[in-house]
Symmetry: C2
Subunit: 189 residues, 2 copies
């Protein structure tokens, strides 16, 4: 269907999270910026790793990359510090309404989260069920427990409902996942 641009935006705004046009990544980046501004935490998304093959120098000060490729990230996407603790997490969206498919997370990212926890850091995942308009924070400990005790290749929604923390979507910060940390890691700070 073809709506004039402004109207389409309005319609999208009024339906679901999935259609807002904002990705989980953008929402988390805005939340992180807000946390930095109010000096509550310092957490950043890492840049996407790129293999750069060819660079042109049109002049002395500019470099234009003309051949590069995406690399598989060796760690999770986000890390930083909150209340003196090392924080590390991966954020994923799924269109499924019933479960989160584990192949969405690379095996070495899961191992990375495990290592972080072993070293005393806080590791978790944030999963957005875009078609349910629900975003959960799930502790790394619960993620690993599920993987170790199940042969299933996806984590059912019910597991997130039982163990995870349902993150509110709001004005500022968009996704207050530090509230989820405060709740799920109560007593660890």
């Amino acid at each position: 269907m073809h709506y004039p641009k402004g109207i389409k935006k309005q319609i999208n705004k009024e339906i679901t999270y999935a259609n807002r046009g904002m990705s989980l990544e953008e929402d988390l980046n805005e939340s992180n910026e807000y946390y930095i501004i109010i000096d509550r935490a310092i957490i950043y998304k890492k840049p996407i790793p790129i293999q750069i093959n060819k660079v042109n120098y049109p002049n002395r000060h500019d470099a234009k990359i003309i051949e590069a490729y995406y690399k598989v990230p060796s760690t999770t996407d986000y890390n930083g510090i909150y209340k003196g603790k090392y924080i590390d997490f991966e954020a994923k969206e799924t269109t499924s309404k019933t479960s989160f498919p584990l192949p969405n997370i690379h095996v070495h990212q899961i191992k990375h989260i495990e290592s972080i926890m072993r070293h005393g850091g806080i590791g978790f995942i944030i999963v957005s069920f875009v078609n349910l308009s629900r975003i959960y924070l799930l502790k790394g400990e619960d993620l690993i427990e599920f993987i170790n005790n199940n042969k299933r290749k996806s984590i059912p929604l019910s597991y997130f409902e039982e163990r995870g923390y349902l993150l509110k979507y709001q004005f500022q910060p968009r996704i207050d996942y530090l509230e989820g940390i405060d709740e799920l890691y109560r007593g660890e700070f």
Copy 2:
């Protein structure tokens, strides 16, 4: 001068650190890999931030970036976890034999190190005086103190000698900067 390839390598190996052909970055990356293998710390260099403008898809699985530009990094290059503590640092090389020019570090990187310390993390810089074959670790606290109390735009070598920790260059890990942390942050772990 034109030497056969192998010989030139040999000559380079025998002169100074500056001419080894290995950069500080490569040495630190190898050290970090080693720390991860022996499970002593989990510290990574962040990918270089890139602004991607145009991507080609020669087939369904490959994406070739054909126009991209380097962005100014908003944080330091390295972060991770060591002994349960959040670690954050910037590494720089200088060819000067007498001082480290402060413009080598972006102002927002210095502010970032300050924020990290305020939040209970460990922030520092590693400076390689390539023509002296000397690499120092300098605590963020000492870096900030110098900046606040001096109008000079470079930190003299003597300041590193007095306050910093001279890192040994060795086989494995190439640069054992965690030893420098143990020494300079004694009592904080």
